[in-house]
């Protein structure tokens, strides 16, 4: 299962123990929207709990900081060396990276969020 950091997602019923563990690890829950992992939650712990609970691979993927699109990590040149779970949860998508002024665009996006 692949989920973007900061996006709501649904899970099947996992049982009381897993639910409590996920809440303690910092995953957010809303009855109507589902679950959400914020940037500062312990993504390693949450994905390891979910991997166990679901019995399948569970991965959080970052979103593009400038255009907010979900990033396809598999096509990234750094896929093999990049461990998104221990990295800062924002990245840049292929489109934004290919722009000549990628750094300026990134800085402007941050300035907007700061103001």
């Amino acid at each position: 299962m692949i989920v973007a950091i900061g996006e709501w997602f649904k899970l099947p019923r996992l049982g009381r123990e897993f639910f409590i563990s996920l809440m303690k690890a910092g995953l957010m829950y809303d009855k109507s929207k589902g679950f959400k992992a914020e940037a500062n939650t312990d993504l390693i712990k949450i994905s390891s709990i979910l991997k166990r609970a679901l019995g399948e691979d569970f991965e959080f993927v970052p979103k593009c900081f400038t255009c907010n699109s979900i990033i396809d990590c598999y096509s990234c040149a750094y896929y093999l060396i990049c461990d998104v779970k221990s990295l800062t949860p924002n990245c840049l998508c292929d489109n934004c990276m290919s722009n000549e002024d990628a750094f300026a665009i990134y800085s402007n996006a941050l300035m907007k969020k700061m103001s």
Binding site: N40, Y78, S86, A102
Partner: protein, 404 residues
């Protein structure tokens, strides 16, 4: 040096850890007397110190900086910080105390420095910011509880790439995309390392850069080493993965153990693997005891060959959890009852409550499960209340089913 020349001049010109940067700026903006101190946790080169200085500058704070791992004694700390603690700046300027590398203090707990910091953060009239490199929080857990924590994760390679590209553009240096990517891969999310490599490689061709990087001694971190080990096709490859893994033998044994106990191996395979790890552990201990350090050169081969045979390929993945998953989940969820039991028993067993829960408790429960009456009496004597007793009874049932 490019690292100095291109040190970010504003918070916006940094890359990575966007949320932490924004939240830290807001924390300092809203700081008032009695606010919790800030604790910046993250690996070197992720921007903790830079952010602190840029934010202080932006909000006109004067920073009083102390490297907590150098100045550890209470007296020295008092000497440096005493005048600041009880007053505001002499000319009304805003002051901020920055304690860098606070995790370094915990290596020597005997000089009163930690206690001083813990007192300091509760009584200070000025904002206090601490920084720690540790990714393992256990050491600084007390400070974490008392502080507002801002985590700094490693910077994603793509963001390192655009930062380095921007510098190269300003310097008028042209490097191929492939060369830049090689350098970014080398830096492993450490911006300082990436900029230094970019400076030293400027002017070289892609082929030259590639040959320099590949000629450097390749070393694996524990994670890389063990991931390669568990997925190796052959004994030799498994050995090679452990050989170039840059870690102490004791850490390799620990990692092999934690990964194996968190795997889904069948019982007989698990026992076999644990036996092999136990043997390796025994050997490391014997080498330490007899100080025959030269024997350590055989350690990687021994661990690799014996463990490789005991594990099916890909059946184990890297894990640092020091106890089996099921036990950990129950410890999280029923922590109060287990903590109370662990605490009471630790006094009798002269060990930590964690050790009681992970090592002694299963045996104790198996022994006591044979007579529920005496078990109840035993735990009542320890002072457990009804709800805690219920949890323990449930544990006993679980464990006795497993034993049967």
């Amino acid at each position: 040096m490019w690292v100095e020349k291109y040190r970010p001049k504003s918070i916006e010109s940094m890359v990575g850890n966007e949320e932490s940067r924004i939240e830290f700026l807001n924390w300092l903006k809203d700081w008032k007397k009695g606010s919790k101190p800030a604790l910046l946790i993250g690996a070197p080169g992720t921007g903790k110190t830079t952010l602190l200085h840029l934010t202080s500058k932006k909000l006109s704070y004067n920073v009083i900086e102390l490297n907590a791992s150098d100045v550890r004694t209470k007296e020295k700390m008092m000497q440096k910080l005493g005048p600041v603690l009880s007053s505001k700046g002499l000319f009304g300027e805003k002051l901020l105390i920055f304690l860098d590398e606070v995790d370094g203090m915990y290596d020597r707990q005997d000089r009163g420095g930690i206690e001083f910091v813990e007192e300091l953060i509760e009584s200070s009239l000025v904002p206090i910011v601490m920084a720690a490199n540790l990714e393992d929080d256990k050491k600084i857990i007390k400070l974490i509880r008392k502080s507002r924590v801002f985590r700094f994760r490693r910077i994603p390679p793509r963001l390192v790439e655009i930062y380095v590209e921007n510098i190269l553009k300003k310097e008028g240096v042209k490097l191929s995309k492939e060369s830049i990517r090689l350098m970014v891969r080398e830096s492993k999310g450490d911006m300082r390392a990436a900029i230094n490599t970019a400076q030293s490689f400027s002017g070289l061709s892609t082929e030259e850069i590639s040959s320099i990087i590949s000629s450097r001694d390749l070393t694996y971190s524990l994670r890389e080493g063990f991931e390669n080990f568990f997925n190796a096709d052959s004994q030799e490859k498994a050995y090679e993965a452990l050989r170039i893994c840059d870690a102490m033998p004791r850490d390799k044994v620990r990692l092999a153990y934690t990964s194996v106990i968190n795997s889904n191996l069948s019982e007989d395979k698990l026992i076999k693997a644990l036996e092999k790890i136990g043997e390796a552990d025994e050997i490391v201990k014997m080498i330490g005891k007899t100080q025959e350090w030269r024997l350590l050169r055989y350690f990687d081969r021994l661990l690799a060959y014996s463990l490789f045979k005991a594990l099916p390929k890909g059946a184990v993945s890297y894990s640092e959890d020091d106890m089996p998953w099921d036990l950990k989940v129950r410890m999280w969820n029923e922590s109060k009852a287990l903590r109370d039991t662990g605490k009471s028993l630790s006094k009798f067993l002269h060990t930590s409550s964690r050790e009681v829960l992970s090592t002694f408790m299963p045996y104790l429960l198996v022994i006591l499960s044979k007579d529920k009456g005496s078990m109840e009496r035993f735990f009542r004597l320890l002072g457990l209340d009804d709800s805690s007793l219920k949890v323990i009874m449930k544990e006993t049932e679980r464990i006795s089913i497993k034993v049967r």
